[in-house]
């Protein structure tokens, strides 16, 4: 995984819109403690904005009544939370054992070399963004690449090349 600890500030205060605000209040009563709302709230932010900013994390922490550091921990731990605006196609490559053994590094090196796309970055044209993630649960068909939530199994550089060509 890349370093996700440098949050991006929008410079504007964050707030849930009316729909998410209502959703937050509906969800919060389901849990025994308000801290349980950290992960659902991060999802709500991501639904609303597409990514999670520094201000959004502070907003969630204050709304829940917990430490900002705790929300910060959860948001940086789980790679499914995007801490920066994503490309049109968000590529996740599994970096856990099976995928590593079955050649995920060749795919990462290819993306870095051909597209100039390093993990944690977005391509200049905004078409692709890349993240190395922990186990995606497809170890039997490693290496696995996930693009905008779709899984592509038994990947190699050639398969990825032709796949990327179809994504515009």
């Amino acid at each position: 995984m890349s370093d996700r600890s440098h949050l991006i500030s929008t410079g504007k205060p964050f707030q849930f819109d009316a729909e998410r605000d209502a959703m937050f209040e509906r969800l919060v009563v389901r849990y025994p403690t308000r801290e349980s709302m950290i992960l659902p709230s991060l999802w709500l932010v991501q639904e609303q904005e597409g990514w999670v900013s520094q201000e959004a994390i502070a907003y969630i922490a204050d709304r829940i009544g917990t430490f900002a550091s705790k929300v910060f921990e959860a948001a940086t731990f789980y790679t499914m939370y995007h801490l920066r605006p994503m490309g049109r196609y968000h590529i996740c490559i599994c970096r856990t054992l099976s995928c590593w053994l079955r050649g995920k590094q060749e795919i990462v090196d290819y993306l870095r070399g051909e597209l100039g796309l390093a993990p944690g970055e977005i391509s200049e044209d905004g078409r692709f963004s890349l993240e190395e993630v922990e186990c995606l649960g497809h170890c039997g068909t490693a290496p696995v690449v996930q693009i905008n939530g779709e899984f592509y199994e038994n990947m190699d550089v050639d398969k990825l090349k032709s796949l990327l060509a179809t994504l515009v």
Binding site: M1, S2, D3, R4, S5, L7, S9, Q54, I57, A58, A61, T66, F67, A68, S69, K70, F72, E73, T76, F77, E134
Partner: protein
Amino acid sequence: MADKITLFVNGVEVEVESGKNLIDAVAAAGIEIPHLCYHPALGADGNCRMCLVGIEDGRPPLVPACKTPAQAGMKVLLDAAHIKKIQHDVMEFELINHPIDCPICDQAGECKLQDYYMTYHGQPSRMTVPQVQKDKKLDFGCGVVHDQERCVTCGRCVRFCRQITKTGELGIVNRSDQARVTIFPGRPLNNRYALNVVDLCPVGAMTSRDFRFQQRVWFLKKSPGICHGCSKGCNIVIDHHREKYADDRIYRFRPRHNPQVNGYFICDEGRLSYKRENEGRLTAARLGGQPVALADALAACHDELQRTEKVVVLLSPNLSLEQMLAAREWAARHGATLSGYSDGYLKPGDGDGYLIQDDKSANRAGLLLLGIDCRRETFLAALAEAELLINCDNELERSIPAEELQPLLKGTRTILATSHDSPSASTAEIAVPVASFSEYDGAVVNCDGILQYFRKAVGKNEPLPDMADFIAALDGTAADRAGLFTALAALIPALAGQSADTVPAQGLKLNENEAAHVSA
């Protein structure tokens, strides 16, 4: 005392206290189980895996000692080959991304990672890939500077901020080898105990801006002491050192464990109060504002006493019991009025119910114990009549603003015996320098009625007289310290049969009615 139980470590029978985890239980018997994340004040976290031991009773082959309560008859394995292998391997993991910057690291010499490397690993690195790079010298606020690369992510600092101060500024972000301790942007450390994370950190990741690069720790002499910053009387270690051709100097205060008083921690204000021991000191006697030899100043005091009748002796609430008693005896002999008026040392609302107290003096309870009048009215009445004020290090301007004080002191001559230079030391007719609390032996009573005895820590090149010496010198004699302690023991039942050497390290809890007994 807790019950004793018997268990076996490496087949050897050991008697330990029950109700403790294995690390603490066998540590009391002198057996070390290595650990990084466990700290008795923060509880077991079980994340570092350094304390894995074997227990031969059919449970899983390895258990973390920090989470295993000591039980009678337990057979603990520490020196088996597979345990040693685990310790060796955990160390290797810890060191994969640890920078080898010990020569410039402040922690070197008191670093757990360094010690454990020497004890449990001692091998060169096998890594051929570049190390993970992280952020260095991050300013976390409150004088804490963090180096993410040195961190072993034991989480002690994070748990301290969540469990003890309940301010939660720190968190461990990211995961795997990218995990690091950080603050949320714009919400830095903001609590009055923050510098404790520097002590808690087993490695050199957390450093104090104040102590960074000031001194190698192996040069520091570690003397026990009592913090005089407030009436809690937190136990401290006074780390001091005499550089070649220089004077003995204090480099830092660190907390010293005392379950009865401060536990494992001290506040930042108290920790940084060491500076006051080094700086701003009065080192030479003054006569009419001009520096003179100590003997000349004492002779002048003597003359002054010859020609005055009405004397008020004002005591600082920071003096030790012995010094207070010496003053009380002197005042009784000379018919002087004795006062401990020091309302200015109180800072109402500043205490926090944990360690920090409203009362910013170390021994007000001692004044009360010796029945010394601390009321404003009696002090002002006595001062109005007095010809001479002997001020024993009481910072009177804290209690009475300077412009109000001036007219009150008109017509009264002042002898000021003080450890610190101040405007009063220049305006007093005679000013005599005395030792500060790190430079003498004495007893103080804290806000909870616990009497603690502390020893001289710092030996200055030119030692200043103890306040008791100064008081004795007024009569041209020397202080009888043993006699003072005996006199104290006669007054305070809890001290009966004790000597300075036998007062327990954790302090003596005085009875409720002892204060009444002494003043009667």
